[in-house]
């Protein structure tokens, strides 16, 4: 049973990162019905921001701050030049954002080349936690993810901006009639969701190979987490992340990563089939 704490920590850190990645995706989808297929590439942009600041000698930490800002601006531009024309064509937003994902990935290849790039580990030491030693940076990631997730919940549940956004989700016309600029809310949300993806990419950059294909690795599990958790409420993603991330880590540990991927996929498809609204989603009608 000495395995348990580390297994839990490992699962927990994967779950938190998964939720962090999925969070941006789900608030955009929940609010606007837009599936942002370029989310993985926003993650990529975030990671490359850190790669750049690190190689320019500015270091990792400023990059971590810069990444969400830059990626947020990219998201803003995408919303302004593309997404807002497609709000009433939901399926087409999937296609358009997917085109964007192709373009961003290709731009990265053109500018940075196809090779994996490095980021100096910002916190290389291990922390002694009594029973076990655990990498400091991973603890930081958990803490950072937790606070970003908490911050997002705070924004949505406790601030005026979040109140307005929730009102727009619940009843767009009524919110507009109360003087809330729904367009603005959409734009802010898209920007915020993009910034979250950028932040997630920046946070993960020291831990994974930073190459142009890195976005996909989190994108698909994040999607499954959303589908499993349901899109109706923000807390759905917590449940979805827990189920997908947790089962993935545990099966990886007990069996192998190959079986865990197949099991998680199958599990997700079954959940989606039985509860199309997700485990925390509520069914429409009756």
């Amino acid at each position: 049973m000495a395995d348990l704490p580390i297994l839990l920590l490992n699962s927990f850190s994967y779950i938190l990162v998964l939720i962090l990645v999925a969070m941006g995706l789900v608030i955009i989808f929940g609010l606007m019905g837009v599936i942002n297929m370029a989310h993985g590439e926003f993650f990529l942009l975030g990671a490359y921001t850190v790669v750049m600041t690190d190689s320019l000698g500015i270091g990792f930490w400023p990059g971590l701050i810069l990444a969400p800002i830059i990626v947020g601006l990219v998201g803003l531009a995408l919303e302004y030049f593309c997404i807002r024309f497609l709000y009433d064509r939901v399926l087409d937003t999937i296609l358009a954002t997917w085109g964007v994902s192709i373009a961003i990935k290709q731009l990265i290849i053109i500018f940075f080349g196809p090779a994996g790039l490095m980021v100096n580990p910002p916190l290389p030491q291990l922390v002694n936690m009594g029973l076990i030693e655990y990498p400091a940076y991973r603890l930081f990631i958990m803490l950072a993810s937790l606070s970003v997730i908490g911050f997002t919940f705070f924004i949505f549940l406790k601030t005026d901006m979040g109140l307005a956004a929730r009102a727009v989700i619940a009843n767009r016309n009524m919110a507009a009639s109360l003087g809330i600029n729904t367009r603005q809310i959409y734009r802010n949300t898209f920007t915020f969701g993009s910034a979250l993806a950028g932040l997630a990419g920046a946070i993960m950059a020291p831990l994974m190979s930073c190459d142009p294909q890195m976005g996909l690795g989190f994108f698909i599990p994040a999607f499954l987490a959303i589908l499993v958790g349901g899109t109706g409420s923000l807390s759905g993603i917590l449940a979805g992340g827990m189920v997908v991330g947790g089962s993935d880590s545990i099966i990886s540990y007990l069996f192998s990563p190959v079986s865990s991927q197949i099991v998680v996929f199958t599990l997700a498809v079954i959940v989606i089939r039985i509860k199309p609204q997700g485990i925390l989603g509520t069914k429409r009608n009756e």
């Binding site: 109140l163 619940a170 009524m174 009639s177």
Partner: protein, 233 residues
């Protein structure tokens, strides 16, 4: 205060408003009456900017507002209480009220005290989920929420629908009070004749997308058959 001329609007190709002319004077309570499906709600939605008029003018407070976005119209000073109230059931009372004030600068977002004077029940139950309220309480909340936005003109769409008669009376009295104390102009769509006879100054009747008759309340009190002709079977 509100001057609508020759307003046309369609919904899904269906021509609902076919040339509406309507004037509401400052400080007045105007009742808009007519059968279902005649375009009253559509008119409200069009004034509020939720539906784009195909032609015609809406002048509010001396300024054309037709075709403006809803949130701007709200900021111009029109409050809206839609049919079915559309309060945010999953939000608390306080949040619902705060939503009405979000259009203001951060420092002006306080809920005016007099709101709770008009609707004392809301003061006690600020943290309760609005969805748990009864119909009448929800209606009060919806009106209060609109008032938080400090409108010059309040649009009310069937406030008495699905509400027990005693509360309808209460709401009517509160509206009258707000009208006389704060000078709020009100345009109310209503089927409950007793209530509007009590509070309205003027009546307009709508049929097939146009205003077919205008008259002051006295005229109706003198001859109720006017009303029956326009809204009953």
């Amino acid at each position: 205060m509100l001057n609508i001329t020759n307003l046309h609007a369609s919904y899904g190709g269906s021509r609902i408003l076919q040339g509406v002319n309507l004037q509401v004077a400052q400080g007045q309570i105007m009742a808009l009456m007519g059968r279902n499906g005649m375009g009253k709600t559509t008119l409200m939605r069009t004034i509020m900017g939720l539906l784009r008029p195909s032609s015609g003018h809406i002048i509010f407070d001396g300024k054309p507002i037709q075709g403006r976005q809803s949130y701007k119209i709200s900021s111009d000073g029109i409050g809206y209480v839609p049919q079915g109230r559309e309060i945010f059931g999953d939000f608390t009372v306080a949040e619902n009220l705060r939503l009405g004030a979000l259009k203001f600068d951060r420092k002006n977002r306080d809920i005016p005290e007099e709101i709770f004077d008009y609707f004392p029940i809301l003061a006690q139950r600020q943290d309760q989920l609005a969805g748990s309220f009864s119909g009448g309480e929800q209606q009060m909340l919806a009106i209060a929420r609109a008032l938080v936005g400090r409108p010059k003109l309040l649009l009310l769409d069937e406030p008495s629908e699905g509400i027990q008669p005693s509360i309808v009376d209460e709401i009517g009295q509160i509206l009258k009070k707000i009208n006389s104390e704060a000078g709020l102009t009100i345009l109310i769509v209503e089927q409950n004749v007793d209530m509007v006879l009590e509070i309205a100054d003027n009546f307009s009747f709508m049929e097939k997308g146009i205003i077919v008759h205008n008259c002051p309340v006295q005229e109706i009190k003198a001859d109720e058959s006017i009303i029956t002709g326009y809204i009953s079977v």
